[in-house]
C-alpha cells in the first residue's frame, strides 16, 4: 500500500492579506445583484420568481400548481358521486385528532330513509382551524373515506368563530369524491 503524504495547505500571502478575498466577495455579491435585478438568479425559473431575485410575490402569484398530490391542507368532508354524505359519524376522527379540533354531534338516519341501513350521519360536524395541525390523522383513520385534507392553505378569519368550519362549509370545501364505498352496496 502506497502512502500518500498530504501536505497541509499553506496560506499564501494574498490569503493572509484578507484584502483579495474581500474583493472576491464583493465581486460575488455584485454578480448576484446583477443577476437578481435582471431576474436571472440561479433557480429563479424553477421557483417561478417574480422577476427580482428568486422570490415569488405571494398573494398575486401562488404556488398552487406546484403543490404535490399529497399536500396536506384544510381537512374537509366529501360526498360521493350521488351527493350522499360518506361520513357515518363514527367519531373515530374526533378521538384520534391530536389537538382535539373536531367536534361531531351524531345524528340518526330515520328508518323510512332509503339508506336507513347506514344508520348514522353527522348532525353537526365542526373542525376548528385554529386548533388543527394538518397532521392528516383524521384522513388516515376514517373507515369511510369521508374526510380528506384538501389543498387549500390560506385559512383566514377575523374572529375565532370564523375559523371554525361547520358541516356546510366542510362539504363546500371538500366537494365530491368518486370511488367505491361499500356501505352503499345493498348486498353488503
Amino acid at each position: 500500500m502506497a502512502f500518500i503524504k498530504i501536505k497541509r495547505p499553506e496560506l499564501s500571502l494574498s490569503d493572509k492579506l484578507y484584502i483579495p478575498a474581500i474583493f472576491k466577495g464583493l465581486w460575488l455579491t455584485f454578480k448576484h445583484a446583477v443577476k437578481s435585478v435582471r431576474g436571472k438568479s440561479i433557480g429563479s425559473k424553477d421557483l417561478a420568481s417574480s422577476g427580482l431575485g428568486i422570490t415569488m410575490q405571494y398573494p398575486e402569484q401562488k404556488w398552487d400548481e406546484h403543490l404535490p398530490e399529497y399536500y396536506r391542507g384544510v381537512p374537509a368532508l366529501v360526498t360521493d358521486e350521488q351527493d350522499r354524505e360518506r361520513c357515518v359519524s363514527c367519531q373515530l376522527c374526533e378521538f384520534i385528532c391530536p389537538p382535539k379540533a373536531i367536534k361531531i354531534i351524531p345524528g340518526e338516519i330515520p328508518s323510512d330513509d332509503e339508506w336507513a341501513k347506514v344508520e348514522k350521519r353527522p348532525k353537526e360536524f365542526e373542525i376548528d382551524m385554529t386548533r388543527c395541525i394538518y397532521c392528516g390523522m383524521c384522513e388516515e383513520v376514517c373507515p369511510e373515506q369521508a374526510i380528506y385534507l384538501r389543498q387549500d392553505y390560506a385559512v383566514t378569519g377575523l374572529t375565532r368563530e370564523e375559523m371554525v368550519n361547520d358541516k356546510k362549509r366542510l362539504y363546500e370545501i371538500g366537494g365530491k369524491r368518486v370511488g367505491l364505498v361499500n356501505k352503499w352496496n345493498e348486498l353488503k
Binding site: T29, A33, I54
Partner: protein
C-alpha cells in the same frame, strides 16, 4: 448683517438637517433593506405605498415600497416605550440621545455645495464654515461612543454591558487610525477648512484622482505633474485606512461587534424599545451618512463635478460661481454620498464579522502602524518633490 446671518444660518440648519439629512437617514434604512435583498436574491420591502383601497380606490399605489421608512417611523412612535425595572433610569434615558446627537452635530461642518446667490446675497452651502473641519468632526463624532457605553452600562444586564465594553475598546483603537490616516491629507492640502479643501479639489483635481488642473500640469514648470501622481500612493493608503476606520466608527459590518446579534442578542440596545431604540438606529445611520460625506469631501472632491467641468460650466469669466452653481454642486455631492452609502451597504452584506481579537489586532498592529508609516512616506515624497 447680524440678523441676515442668523436667519440664513437658521435656514441652512433647517434645510441641511431636516430636509436633507433626516430623510436620507430614513431612506438609507430603505436602501439597506432593498440593496441587501438584491444582493441576496430577495425582494425586500416593496409594498408600503398609499393604501388607496382604504379610501375606496381601485388599486393601492406601491411606489416600490418607498413609504416603508414612514411606516417604520410611525411604528417607532406608536410602540410601547418599555423601561425595564432593573435599569439605571437617568443614564438609560440619556444614552440614545448621546448617540444620535453627535452624529447630527457633525453635519454642520460638511460643505454640501459651493455657493448660491439669492437676492444678491451669496450663501455658502455649509452651516458652519470653520477652519478646523475634520478635527471638529472627530472630536464630536467620538462622543457618540459615550452613548453606546452608557447604554450598555445603564441597561444593567450582561449582553448590553458586553456590547458597551466592546464599543468602547473598538472606538479607541480605530479613532487613532482614523486621526492618523487623515494627517497625510492635511499635509498635502495644508489647510483644515473643508470648504476650501473641496474648492481646491474642484480646481486642481480630486485628492486620489487628480486628472485635471494642477494634477496634469505643474504650475511651476508647466510639465506633466508626476509628483502629484506619486502622492496618490500614500493618499490611497490613507483612503483605505480612513474608510475602514469609518466602518469601525459607525459600528457597521464587519465591525459591528458592539451589537452583533449572534453573540450578544442585540448588543448595547438589547433593553431598548420603540423610539429610544429608533434613536440608536438613527444615530448609526446618521454616522454612516456623515462618514460617507466626510470620505467624499476629503478624497473625492466633495461637491465638485470634477474633470475641470466646474470651471467650464459653472463659473463666469471673473472666476466667480454662477448663481445656481450651488444647486448643481449640491446634487453632485448628494449623488456621491448616496453612492458611498450603497457601498457601505454592499460591504455589510458581503464581509462576515471579524472575531474580536482579530479586530483588535487589525486596529492596533496593522492600521495604527500603517497610518504612522504612511505619514512618513507622504512627508518623504513631499520633501523629495520640494527639493
Amino acid at each position: 448683517m447680524e440678523i441676515t446671518f442668523l436667519a440664513i444660518s437658521a435656514i441652512k440648519i433647517f434645510v441641511f438637517t431636516f430636509v436633507i439629512t433626516l430623510p436620507m437617514i430614513a431612506y438609507s434604512t430603505y436602501a439597506e433593506r432593498r440593496v441587501s435583498a438584491i444582493l441576496q436574491d430577495r425582494v425586500g420591502p416593496n409594498r408600503v405605498g398609499i393604501p388607496l383601497t382604504l379610501f375606496g380606490g381601485k388599486k393601492d399605489w406601491k411606489f416600490f415600497g418607498l413609504l416603508q421608512p414612514l411606516a417604520d417611523g410611525l411604528k417607532g412612535l406608536l410602540k410601547e416605550d418599555f423601561t425595564p425595572a432593573h435599569v439605571r433610569k437617568n443614564y438609560y434615558w440619556i444614552a440614545p440621545a448621546l448617540t444620535a446627537v453627535p452624529a447630527f452635530v457633525t453635519v454642520c461642518v460638511i460643505p454640501f455645495g459651493s455657493e448660491i446667490t439669492i437676492f444678491g446675497e451669496t450663501v455658502k452651502l455649509v452651516i458652519a464654515d470653520i477652519g478646523i473641519g475634520p478635527l471638529f468632526i472627530f472630536a464630536i463624532a467620538s462622543l457618540s461612543v459615550y452613548g453606546i457605553t452608557i447604554a450598555g452600562w445603564a441597561s444593567n444586564s450582561k449582553y448590553p454591558f458586553l456590547g458597551g465594553v466592546r464599543a468602547c475598546a473598538q472606538m479607541i483603537s480605530y479613532e487613532i487610525a482614523l486621526g492618523l490616516s487623515i494627517v497625510p491629507v492635511l499635509m498635502v492640502f495644508g489647510m483644515l477648512n473643508l470648504s476650501d479643501i473641496v474648492n481646491e479639489q474642484a480646481i486642481n483635481g480630486w485628492l486620489i484622482f487628480p486628472a485635471w488642473g494642477e494634477g496634469l500640469t505643474n504650475p511651476d514648470t508647466g510639465n506633466f505633474n508626476l509628483g502629484r501622481w506619486l502622492l496618490v500612493i500614500p493618499l490611497l493608503i490613507s483612503f483605505f485606512i480612513f474608510t475602514v476606520s469609518i466602518f469601525a466608527e459607525t459600528n457597521r459590518m464587519p465591525f459591528d461587534l458592539p451589537e452583533c446579534e449572534t453573540e450578544l442578542v442585540g448588543g448595547y440596545h438589547t433593553e431598548y424599545s420603540s423610539m429610544k431604540f429608533a434613536l440608536f438606529f438613527m444615530g448609526e445611520y446618521a454616522a454612516m451618512i456623515v462618514g460617507s460625506a466626510l470620505i467624499v469631501t476629503v478624497f473625492f472632491g466633495g461637491w465638485s463635478l470634477g474633470f475641470g467641468l466646474d470651471a467650464k460650466w459653472l463659473m463666469d469669466e471673473a472666476g466667480n460661481w454662477k448663481a445656481y452653481a450651488g444647486l448643481v454642486h449640491l446634487g453632485a455631492f448628494l449623488t456621491k454620498v448616496v453612492a458611498f452609502i450603497v457601498f457601505f451597504v454592499w460591504v455589510r452584506w458581503t464581509v462576515p464579522r471579524f472575531r474580536y481579537d482579530q479586530l483588535m489586532k487589525l486596529g492596533w498592529v496593522v492600521f495604527f502602524e500603517l497610518a504612522l508609516v504612511n505619514i512618513f512616506l507622504t512627508a518623504g515624497i513631499m520633501w523629495w518633490l520640494a527639493r
